[in-house]
């Protein structure tokens, strides 16, 4: 038996088990539903209006952008947030104490990030089908494209999230170094507000990050026929989406293993205990 493949399989099994656990946990479900309701509220209030010059609903235009954001968010938070929490409660140290446990741990986290992202997309799309009639007309091929984009998006964002998560010391830092930047980037990425209405330098900045390109790619899947008037160049630029997301993937995959190894090497019983003591002090 090859211990490495064996541990990878165990990681996969663990990812599935933990996904199942989160699907039966009121806390986790509540979190998912909260976001779904917030997203859907936006879509709901836009359902009556159409985009100027077309007969397409604004809702149909917004939904793909939200899905693009969810993929980016699932990747970044799925790695950074989870890594910070798992270091705090000793999950990571437990993995370190077990043969090939670290490998199993990372495979499980990638699995659960992928399943979590898939689930949050379903939570948007299922009620979305009722609110946005155009969705029912989307072809099977386009749904498959969407899955491909989601996979590519996770590849671009998970390593980046893991790097940020390795450098984030506490849940407070999580807000400052993860949530806040993600929200800022989201704000300029044409998800909630047309990117073409922003100053040109902001548009350039937004196009450095995966969020715009994930939104762009998902919009292409659903809105290809209605034109790219709201996009930066006024046309679909899938090759650029592939280049930017690919660059993030390659850079992330090149840097993340070293950063993760260094982070993991520092974990020990006294480090976890000290972190806990600090957390207690913050609460007091």
């Amino acid at each position: 038996m090859n211990p490495v493949r064996h541990a990878a399989r165990l990681g996969l099994r663990r990812g599935l088990a933990e996904f199942r656990q989160s699907m039966t946990s009121a806390e986790d479900i509540g979190f998912q539903i909260f976001f779904a309701v917030a997203f859907l509220a936006v879509v709901f209030f836009q359902r009556g209006s159409t985009i100027e010059g077309t007969d397409m609903s604004v809702a149909m235009a917004t939904l793909p952008s939200l899905v693009g954001l969810q993929i980016a968010f699932g990747g970044i938070m799925g790695a950074a947030g989870v890594l910070t929490i798992d270091r705090g409660d000793g999950t990571l140290l437990r993995a370190k104490a077990i043969p090939n446990g670290m490998l199993g741990y990372f495979v499980s986290r990638i699995t659960s990030a992928a399943l979590g992202t898939l689930m949050s997309m379903l939570i948007i799309f299922l009620p979305g089908l009722l609110l946005v009639p155009e969705l029912a007309a989307v072809s099977l091929w386009n749904w498959l494209y969407l899955l491909l984009i989601a996979a590519f998006g996770l590849l671009a964002t998970l390593p980046a999230g893991a790097i940020i998560g390795s450098m984030t010391k506490s849940p407070n830092g999580l807000f400052l170094y993860v949530m806040l930047p993600v929200m800022l980037v989201t704000g300029i990425s044409g998800i909630f507000y047309p990117i073409t209405a922003l100053p040109e330098w902001v548009q350039w900045l937004a196009q450095v990050f995966p969020v715009y390109w994930l939104g762009h790619a998902v919009r292409w899947v659903f809105l290809a026929d209605t034109g790219a008037a709201a996009e930066v160049a006024g046309v679909w630029r899938l090759h650029w989406a592939a280049i930017v997301l690919g660059a993030w993937s390659i850079a992330g995959l090149a840097i993340a293993p070293g950063v993760l190894r260094r982070m993991a090497r520092r974990e020990s019983g006294s480090v976890v205990a000290e972190r806990r003591r600090e957390a207690m002090q913050r609460m007091a």
Binding site: R14, D89, R94, I98, P99, G101, G269, V272
Partner: protein, 319 residues
């Protein structure tokens, strides 16, 4: 000794000492926390690292676990330098820490079974791995909690689960860091019984840290007392007690007059006393300084005046 350290491949079961530590030093920045620690642990031995907080116990055990890289010295754990231990080496040891709060959503049996699976590739004819999940759940007294979520366990139950996870791979060597910190007396007694049973039935070498002398006396074959990053005593509880009580206070009366004297050999002294005065001797009392008194004095001194004074105080008491 040197051969055991130099050997890099894992030694077969029962071959050579489990742990060899020579001139182990640890320095953080400009602060030395370990000043040349030396000891050896035989296979199957239960060893307690005893000492006050800040004595260097946790640093020592984390170096042995391979979780911390030493500044200098030679260390061999199961025939391998822990700084270069691979996964095969890792599979031969179990680690139980005090600060774990992980996997709260898992159920007791599920987690134990899952983590045990990682040891399957490391099973050998002499030591089949992992241990049977249900038998292990019962052995640590969590039979009734087997299907409960881990977040609902009490502190004592949680720690017993940690021990179960620590031994699910049937380790040749088990590390326990302050295993009973925060336990009530009942939980502590049950935990001690569990550890003693484990040492007996599995022939596991156990290294535990504690600041509780009673716990060290109860569990350990041998006690290593640490203070100020040095080993100040090494021996069985009896040997330590004898070292401490080398001098004793003898009180007696003769013809209504009371005497007291501190002597090195109370038995000889008393024999001499009777030989000389016979029936005239009364109210005889021989009092040895207890290990506990001396240890407590060192702990207090360690906290109040620092490690150096404590080490000096202890050494003075022993000589």
């Amino acid at each position: 000794m040197t051969a055991a350290i130099a050997e890099s491949r894992p030694a077969p079961l029962g071959d050579g000492p489990a742990i060899v530590v020579r001139d182990l030093r640890m320095r953080y920045g400009t602060t030395d926390v370990l000043h040349g620690v030396e000891f050896t642990a035989r296979r199957g031995e239960v060893l307690a690292l005893l000492g006050p907080n800040g004595a260097g116990k946790t640093t020592t055990i984390e170096i042995l676990e391979g979780f911390r890289i030493r500044s200098a010295g030679e260390v061999s754990v199961l025939g391998t330098d822990p700084a270069h231990g691979d996964e095969r080496w890792r599979a031969r040891m179990g680690i139980v820490l005090q600060s774990w709060r992980d996997h709260g959503k898992w159920r007791v049996r599920d987690l134990l079974h899952h983590l045990g699976q990682y040891y399957v590739p490391y099973s050998t004819p002499e030591r089949t791995r992992p241990a049977d999940t249900d038998a292990l759940v019962a052995a640590v007294g969590l039979g009734e909690q087997a299907d409960k979520k881990i977040s609902t366990l009490s502190g004592g139950q949680r720690r017993r689960l940690d021990v179960a996870i620590g031994i699910v791979g049937r380790p040749e060597l088990l590390f326990l860091d302050e295993p009973t910190a925060g336990f009530d007396p009942q939980a502590r007694r049950e935990f001690h019984a569990l550890i003693l049973d484990l040492a007996k039935t599995e022939e596991t070498t156990i290294v535990l840290t504690t600041h509780d002398l009673g716990e060290a006396e109860k569990l350990a074959d041998r006690i290593l007392m640490l203070a100020g990053g040095r080993i100040v005593a090494d021996g069985t509880a009896d040997e330590l007690a004898r070292q401490v009580s080398a001098r004793a206070e003898v009180r007696w009366s003769r013809n209504g007059q009371h005497f007291v004297e501190s002597v090195e050999d109370p038995t000889g002294f008393v024999r001499h006393l009777f030989a000389e005065h016979g029936e005239a001797i009364g109210d005889l009392e021989v009092r040895r300084a207890s290990l506990e008194d001396t240890y407590m004095a060192m702990v207090v001194s360690h906290e109040a005046t620092g490690p150096d004074a404590a080490v000096a105080g202890w050494t003075g008491a022993v000589q």
